[in-house]
């Protein structure tokens, strides 16, 4: 008899509770799924697709200041780096080699929070194929929204930022990003 009574009043799903539960849970699951592959620490630069902030900086060791405006018409690669940064060490050779093999592309280094004499010594020892510029008050790094080093910006011939790469670059990454900068990001 007890069995008969229990089976007769078997619990049924409360539709309203189910709908309310789904209404709360589904958007949360959707947000989770949409962001599964995303690095929570990476912030997409709002500068991508916008004109690169202008600068006028003096190269390490002195000389005539280099202005971004003077480089219009050719793709530009700007690498923010420092001698105290180990990944910058690792990518230095790849950048120098790429700069030598791509004469139509203007490579530039911008020194981030580092001592000029130490930077000069580093470049003498390891060699370079492009100018590194001193950003003494950090204004250029701030204008480019730099979080740390190395960070590299790829600028198309019209002066627009096509891509920002965070972390060390290898030859393959440099070539593919330069190709995008040449094509205006298309």
């Amino acid at each position: 008899m007890a069995t008969a009574l229990t089976s007769a009043s078997a619990p049924r799903v409360n539709r309203r509770v189910l709908v309310a539960g789904l209404a709360i849970a589904l958007p949360l699951v959707a947000v989770l799924v949409a962001n599964l592959g995303r690095d929570p620490h990476s912030v997409r630069s709002p500068l991508i697709g916008r004109p690169a902030p202008p600068f006028r900086l003096v190269p390490v060791g002195g000389g005539a200041p280099v202005a971004l405006e003077s480089l219009h018409g050719k793709p530009v690669v700007i690498n923010f780096w420092a001698t105290w940064c180990v990944p910058c060490f690792q990518e230095h050779a790849a950048l120098v080699e790429a700069a030598r093999s791509l004469p139509a592309v203007q490579f530039l280094g911008i020194v981030y929070e580092d001592d000029e004499a130490q930077t000069g010594e580093f470049l003498r020892q390891r060699g370079t194929a492009y100018a590194s510029l001193m950003d003494k008050d950090g204004k250029t790094a701030i204008a480019y929204g730099v979080f740390g080093v190395p960070e590299t910006f790829f600028i198309d011939p019209e002066g627009r930022i096509v891509e920002k790469h965070v972390g060390p670059l290898d030859r393959g990454a440099i070539l593919s990003l330069v190709a995008r900068a040449r094509g205006g990001g298309r």
């Binding site: 008969a4 009574l5 089976s7 912030v43 902030p53 405006e69 204004k139 701030i142 929204g145």
Partner: protein, 177 residues
């Protein structure tokens, strides 16, 4: 031609706006630098404002805030300028717009919605007591000879009636006669 277009697009995109505030100096400049700095996130720190961080990057940013305040830029112009480089991330207080409405008003809305659900559930849980009172009136009682639609339950009810009253139907044979 390209050069002119390049220069124009660059100028249009990056031309600094005219300052909207008053140029500051002295103690007021120091105070406002700290206040505006407290609203900007240090990009190389963990959840610190540039006013609180000793990092070189934070000091450089603070110097830029100071320069802009001295030049007469107002708080919103300065925050918007840093936002152009770093994105909304750089603001420690997200502006009330777009999806940020959720951040500002979401918790209060959820609290209100939760309160409404609790109030509704409480009112609902009180209802059966009211029904019991109402059922005590004879006219509201179900007919004694009705049976549940489920045949197994109906059989169980009939057995209980048999045990309790001695007859399986709701009405005694005497009454029926």
């Amino acid at each position: 031609m390209t050069l002119v277009a390049f220069a124009l697009s660059g100028l249009l995109a990056l031309a600094p706006e005219a300052p909207r505030g008053q140029p500051l100096s002295g103690k007021l400049l120091d105070q406002r630098t700290d206040e505006v700095g407290a609203l900007l996130r240090c990009p190389v720190c963990q959840g610190l404002s540039i006013a609180d961080s000793p990092a070189t990057m934070a000091r450089n940013m603070k110097a830029e805030v100071r320069e802009k305040l001295a030049a007469g830029y107002d708080q919103e112009q300065i925050l918007a300028d840093f936002e152009r480089s770093y994105g909304e991330f750089v603001r420690l207080q997200p502006p009330v717009r777009g999806v940020n409405w959720l951040v500002w008003f979401g918790p209060a809305a959820m609290l209100l919605a939760g309160g409404a659900v609790v109030a509704w559930a409480l009112r609902r849980s009180q209802r059966p007591r009211g029904e019991e009172v109402a059922l005590q009136r004879d006219s509201d009682l179900p007919s004694r000879d009705t049976l549940p639609a489920d045949p197994r339950l109906a059989a169980a009810v009939r057995r209980v009636r048999m045990l309790a009253y001695g007859w399986p139907d709701g009405i005694s044979p005497k009454e029926r006669a």
